[in-house]
């Protein structure tokens, strides 16, 4: 399938395998909407990610989108006093470590590429570099 969805899913699956992650997803802001949604995912346990709607600045995607910088969460403990609303994708997919990287569309941060691990693990610099590189590649496709 050469549709945009097919291409993005292929990218996500490849990224997931190369980074040895359990889950990989792409979120973006719909044109004209203030909210962010997870549009594509691979390695998902359920369909919850599709229904999650993030307000700007909320969740990993919202934070990455707002700051325009990668965000790393390592060994995220559910017992922490954090508001569960902060990172709903971690709960939906039971992730313990995650990395979100901004994806630029037409020079502005419009999307977020995420990889997640269900084991609490450290996310090495190499992995961050890899995800950043894939985010760059995706920019060219989605940009059209």
């Amino acid at each position: 399938m050469d549709t945009l969805a097919g291409v993005i899913n292929k990218y996500l699956e490849e990224l997931r395998q190369r980074t040895d992650a359990d889950f990989s997803a792409f979120a973006c802001q719909e044109p004209g909407e203030a909210v962010i949604r997870w549009k594509y995912a691979v390695g998902n346990k359920n369909e919850r990610f599709r229904r999650i709607v993030l307000r700007s600045g909320k969740g990993i995607a919202g934070k990455v989108l707002m700051a325009g910088r990668p965000m790393i969460l390592e060994n995220y403990e559910h017992r922490q006093h954090d508001d569960p609303q902060e990172y709903p994708i971690l709960y939906a997919e039971e992730l313990r470590s995650a990395l979100g990287v901004p994806v630029l569309i037409a020079g502005r941060v419009k999307g977020v590429l995420l990889i997640g691990y269900r084991n609490p693990c450290r996310i090495e610099e190499v992995i961050v570099g890899l995800v950043k590189q894939v985010a760059k590649e995706m920019e060219n496709i989605i940009g059209i």
């Binding site: 203030a34 346990k45 359920n46 369909e47 919850r48 990610f49 599709r50 229904r51 999650i52 709607v53 307000r55 700007s56 559910h78 017992r79 006093h81 569960p84 609303q85 709903p88 709960y91 939906a92 039971e94």
Partner: protein, 351 residues
């Protein structure tokens, strides 16, 4: 003249009294003790009398905020009433008992009579009572505070931002240079964003719909928000006609339901959630049912702060209701709340 009580009666009092009585000589050696001491300390009288000193099992005394060890030891003082000492049980643990001492006059040997009384059961009850009172107080205080801040955000800050947006809209209608216009648009968009944030925070703290429209409408809008936040499809079934209940009942039901739903979202690993609410024969029934992972009720692994379940129980108790949790591994979890309607409904109206 009072009739003199017979000596055997004194002996019986000593023998069968429930308070432990220990008699010490001037060196602190136990020269006599009654059988109750065994219940208290685990040592039998034979092990104690003439063989041990009270100091061997005493780990200091407590008086109000004071705690002292051996300084101003009570065995060196005259009679004292009502203080606490810490004793070492034969099994090795240290526990508190209340004590009082009586110094016999010198011509009667100058012995010190120490009466010890086990207060642990009373203390436990007392602690429970205080804890419950505190929990209730905290729930009330938190709810009140949330209500106040929520109102202030909505009516104060929210209103001001709204006025700003109206003002910015007026400016936009004016004839302005294009780049100035786009600047104002940007600022207006930010103000709109801020207003939506403020409203969200306000509703999160405590939705005004709970006071204005009641439990079911407030729950409906929470469910909408919940679905968008966690991506869990939630179905609410309401049996019977919707009506208003006492403010504290509505608040408690709302909070319990909210807590149960968030717990399910966090731990149950589910796609869908079901909520059932009905009123029947003066009894309210609320159930939050998930078919998720479930947990072992016998040994709940505290995943969160552990306060969630406790808080739900306390809230239910506070309105005269009961909370039942059924859960099994891979069978999902059901939280049920039963609240009888009756006299209480009119009494509790404190929100």
């Amino acid at each position: 003249m009072r009739q003199k009580t017979s000596e055997p009666l004194f002996k019986d009092i000593f023998q069968y009294g429930s308070d432990a009585i220990v008699i010490l000589d001037d060196k602190g050696i136990i020269i006599d003790a009654n059988p109750s001491i065994e219940m208290l300390t685990g040592y039998c009288t034979e092990e104690l009398i003439h063989k041990m000193s009270l100091c061997d099992i005493c780990h200091g005394m407590e008086r109000c905020a004071d705690f002292t060890v051996c300084i101003n030891c009570f065995t060196t003082l005259e009679s004292m009433s009502s203080f606490k000492i810490r004793l070492l049980h034969r099994k090795g643990h240290i526990f508190s008992v209340s004590a009082s001492t009586t110094r016999l006059p010198q011509n009667a040997g100058g012995f010190l009579i120490v009466v010890l009384r086990d207060m642990s059961e009373y203390n436990k009850q007392d602690q429970k009572y205080v804890q419950k009172k505190m929990a209730n107080y905290m729930i009330q205080a938190q709810e009140g505070e949330r209500k106040r801040v929520s109102r202030e955000l909505h009516d104060g800050v929210g209103q001001t931002i709204y006025s700003m947006i109206v003002g910015l809209n007026i400016i936009e209608q004016m004839e302005l240079e294009n780049d100035l216009k786009s600047h104002f648009q940007l600022v207006r968009d930010m103000a709109v964003q801020a207003l939506s944030e403020v409203r969200h925070i306000s509703v999160d703290l405590r939705p005004s719909s709970l006071d204005d429209w009641g439990f079911v409408p407030a729950l409906r809008s929470f469910i909408k928000q919940f679905e968008r936040t966690y991506g869990i499809v939630t179905r609410l079934s309401v049996v019977g006609q919707e009506r208003r209940y006492g403010a504290s009942i509505e608040t408690a039901l709302y909070r319990i339901c909210q807590e149960a739903m968030i717990n399910a979202a966090k731990y149950a690993n589910i796609d869908t959630l079901e909520i059932h609410f009905e009123e029947q024969d003066q009894l309210l029934y609320l159930a939050v049912i998930d078919l998720g992972r479930g947990f072992n009720l016998e040994k709940i692994e505290v995943m969160g702060t552990g306060l969630g379940l406790y808080g739900m129980r306390e809230r239910a108790k506070l309105i005269g209701g009961t909370l039942k949790i059924t859960s099994g591994c891979d069978h999902g979890t059901t939280i049920r709340v039963y609240v009888p309607l009756g006299k209480e409904e009119e009494i509790i109206h404190d929100h």
